[in-house]
Symmetry: C2
Subunit: 381 residues, 2 copies
Amino acid sequence: MLKRERPKERFGYDPQKVLRKLEELGREILKEVRQGKNPYFDIPTRGLNNVYFDEVKRVIRMGDKLSRRYFLNVAHARKFMQTLLIAAYVKRLVSEGKHASLREAYYANKHTIPGTKENTFEDQSESDPIIEDLERMLGVLREEMHLTADRRGYVYGDITIRDGEDEFNTSKLGMGGWAVPGTVEHIQFVDINVDYALVVETAAMADRLIEEKFPKKERALIIATQGQASRGVRRLIHRLHYEEGLPIIVFTDGDPYGWYIYSTIKQGSINLAYLSEKLATPEAKFVGMTMDDIKKYGLENVTEKLKGIPPNKKGGPTGDYKRIIEEMNYPWFKNKEWQRQLKLALEWGVRIEQQALANKSLEFVAKKYLPEKIANEELLP
Amino acid sequence: MLKRERPKERFGYDPQKVLRKLEELGREILKEVRQGKNPYFDIPTRGLNNVYFDEVKRVIRMGDKLSRRYFLNVAHARKFMQTLLIAAYVKRLVSEGKHASLREAYYANKHTIPGTKENTFEDQSESDPIIEDLERMLGVLREEMHLTADRRGYVYGDITIRDGEDEFNTSKLGMGGWAVPGTVEHIQFVDINVDYALVVETAAMADRLIEEKFPKKERALIIATQGQASRGVRRLIHRLHYEEGLPIIVFTDGDPYGWYIYSTIKQGSINLAYLSEKLATPEAKFVGMTMDDIKKYGLENVTEKLKGIPPNKKGGPTGDYKRIIEEMNYPWFKNKEWQRQLKLALEWGVRIEQQALANKSLEFVAKKYLPEKIANEELLP
């Protein structure tokens, strides 16, 4: 039986820490300017050649390669200026307890430099990387700097959350559930009355489970990602696991996109390796859909064909086939259970959706499929 | 000043009505079979040649063209069978008080007909149109048949909703707000303590307004659509306007996509003309963004160029330009205020985003832009 474990992290949001780091950065620059030196930032290098898979902690981590950005360097000066502008903006946001979207941060800092025709930023594609640079330099999440990502996803189950002055139970909001905000740094968990969290890819499936009263019967918290999990949802999952000891079980479609959603929740994305320790949940497990489910539950009639060209055909692999082969090479899928599923998908050339379980009956997923698999711990690592 | 008006509709969801209509349909077919006749359905024709704009009610409506679908006709038999299958499925759903997604409805009804190799449905693209046929035939919403659409969007403000046994105030859910379910037929409004509803295109802007305490200060309900408004959100807006007398004000980006979002909320879409009377809210008004805002608020520096080729250039109009010209021909945009804005967009070749207002200050939209425009009723029809 799945049970809540002992917490491994404590509620740790501290705006003062972020402010201190920013002030330190500013003072350092100021000191160099006063000393007549050429001020610079050291920024951990982005990209694949500066990430590795930490086998012990089982997360993608950033290496220690740095690149130095000088003020007095024609190739660096623009980015140097942009970095200071965004750092100052973040300081203002955090001091005032305000949040801004990435887009707002871009617009707020875009202006023409007096006496020139030069704009500080021409496009959001200039400000976003600067924000990522700051995350890497300071070792804080964008959300801790009060810059919010796009929000998506909702939560339903017997937990009580405090957000500012409000306190509410997410199982008492009708069929709607609680919409997960872009930033969950500031929320507190007042009461957790569930045994585990079930992370569900599609809203339709989450709503099915809510309608079948699965959260109550199985003492589960439902977290609907509505596609790829937003950063807010990933951070919420991380916090529920590490601060509250909730086992995390992921339930997606049985296709390369669904498995990628699982992969991102579990390990983080390679582009954002520096966030893994705060956003990823390597202990997450996977309940389905798997290729074995197709045979076990007689779903052959409701599979769909994989898209693209198989590896053994001319021009292949492309599409779904190519993505599956990529996934076979992820370090966290290098185990016999996952290799088996991914190989079967390639062999059979099919995918299977969560909602295909409705072919049995609407109740099937809530009354048989999930309770059985979870009770028997038929879960992939 | 905007104030709540007198309600024009009453809470009207009645599952028995849907069941009666389905039973009537079934009895009619059965009677014809028993009499040795060739049973048929009369289905209002889909497509542009069977819709018109009702100038009085100011909604798109379905015409009275019918097409007849016979059982004993090789070209009709498959669809006849599919229509009966789905009708029977809907009867079961509504009787049992269960809901299914369109995808579940497809999977649930897909099977191989015994003794043949024929599947009842090969693809969801076969079942969706059958569901639309039933909506048109019976004059009920898909949601009233317990078939739910994709859900998206959330709500924040001082209203109290009852959904089953739960009763909650959507301003007491922290920064998250209430996630709008796929179906809002069954919810009831217990208490409405706002003067109007502000429908907002982007989550980032809705969250800005929530952070600035706009809903409380301005006695407004915020409805975030997160892009194109889902059917659940459109139905919610309709019900808040007609059952609760709330004025509806829409706030989108100043670009063809944002104006289309407004258009869909206001008038419904041409494809789904038969739903207009239950999903559309023709009395909705538009606060921004407009082309005039660019000059009035000095936002020239934060506009973006329209995409595509202008009408006066070779190969044009394409992209944004083409969509704007299409929108100029919508009957509900055939008024001087909208023609002016759309013409200005074509002339200047620019678009303006909601979040560009952050260039003034984060508070600007909540403290100046919206309160001023709404108080002065600077709204487009």
